[in-house]
Amino acid sequence: MLLVRNLARRKLRTALTISGITIGIWALVVFGSLAAKIDSLVTGAHSYFGNRVIVSSEAGGGGMFPLPISLVGQAAIIDGVDVAFGEVDTMIDHTAHQIGLPDEMVGFVQGADAGRDDFPYRYAAGRPLTAADEGHDVVVLGASIARNNDSRVGGTIRIRDADFTIVGILEPTLTVPDSQAFMPLTAAQRLYVKDLPPDMAGNLIPAQTITHIVIYPAPGVDVDQLAARLQTSLPKVTAVTAKEFDQTIGSMANLLSGIIVGVGLISLVVGGLSIINTMAMSVNERTREIGIKRAIGGRRRRIILELVTEAGLIGFIGGSLGLVLGVIAVTLGNQVGQDSGTVLFSLTASTALSALIFATVLGMVAGIVPATHAARLDPVQALRHE
């Protein structure tokens, strides 16, 4: 109660200090959620890549450029290759710009991986594709695509001017498959070749065209050495593994997360300095009062504790407000993002809790210096202070 009264008697300054902390914690919560989202994308993508080598045209790996399906046969006999199969994996709409992962259509013959793909796909509704679906326009949708199109199993979805019957919908994985539409290889080949620019399409025959070869190494074979071997043995290809993914995308993402959290932390340091300033001024104003307390028998430790608690309370209030505003911002941001198919933020309970604890501890630490100074005042001098 006394604490609250002490804060209340300097309303404007306390309010300003609290808003400093509020903004800092708000930034930390929002940016921290953004970083957590990036992190979960990267970790998820890493496990999606798994122990595979992805071979694509040396012209580019994004599924833009065609490979002849005959390369699959050549790859299969290279030393260390256990399973090799072709797939079409390309953006559904190359002109679309969105934050996060683009929607992709992915076609391969079910079972071609010989059971090596161990990514945990779970079905929210419907069934997986089977090899018997080849020749039919059926599709299994990732969670984000399904949500953005209000899709239901049994309904249809239009992908590149073709209507597909939806047979299954995946549960969210928080990574790549969420924005993928899985279809039989034949359907994907047809759509892919039909929409290629004329100079690239040339005389390509859909049934002999793929964009990637997926390779699983034989047991005991080093995946990165295998990738290097594939790249030299096959003409005009690039072979990448999860490690390279980590080195490029992963390190970029880590850097981005670092910058994002850094910005939040800087704003908190500024907030912390403003607590020190507020407490120092408050101690100065209350010099006489501290003198009275010391004179009538208040121990130094008591005085320090009172002031540090007061500073901690400023931090806690600022932190709580920042957290509330941060949750609002993250929720609104995700709602807006949902319409364009992207969940930007992932706010976890531990982010929230640590932001709150951090703000409180920051306040207390900032209060220690002025509080110690106050407790060291000579009571007689302090009583004369006006």
Binding site: R288, R294, A295, I296, G297, R299, R302, V380
Partner: protein
Amino acid sequence: MTLLEATNLRKTFNLGRGNIVEALRGVNVTIDAGEMVAIMGPSGSGKSTLMHILGLLQQPDLDWEPAPSLVIGGRETTHLPDGARTQARARELGFVFQSYNLVPTLTAAENVALAADYAGRGGSRGRAAALDALGLVGLSHRANHRPNELSGGEQQRVAIARALVNEPRMVLGDEPTGNLDSSRSAEVLTLLRRFNRERGQTFVLVTHDPEVGAACDRIIRMRDGRVLGSELARAA
């Protein structure tokens, strides 16, 4: 029975640039339990400094020969560390200041309870003791008022309640009537005199005011940092 015995008290203040003030130049004072004593003298005579030292708010200079001594209740205090001096102020001493010195954010009862808390009686026990003490000074009905809602006389009575709440060995007053008009001043004096008579409470009052001196048992006169002498006051 001797409550307090001080010998060879010296205090020098270095105000900087070679400006050294000798506030006390070797003071000896003895105060008996149950006495009500006034310390009087002109400004700059060292009477406030003496009170601060007797009240353990300041230490006498220790590096003089003969060495100073301040015994309160049989205990030598000159070398006590800060924590022990603070505790002694909380449990064994009470203070009344000229400008009341109440904590402005606390109510009358909370101000008094704070002193009880410092002396080891927190929570409801401290609050009960505070209300009792406010009753003794006739302010029960103002217990929940803040200092700025009280008159000067009332504030000083709250301060007296705060000084008395722990039933200290000795209450020190620094111009306790200095900010009050004559009728309020007489009221406060009557109150102090009553606590002295009825409860045997020892008071040491630093004052300019001859009325205060007249109300006490004994007057210690000071000038230029020395005690001139001690005289019995005219019985009030």
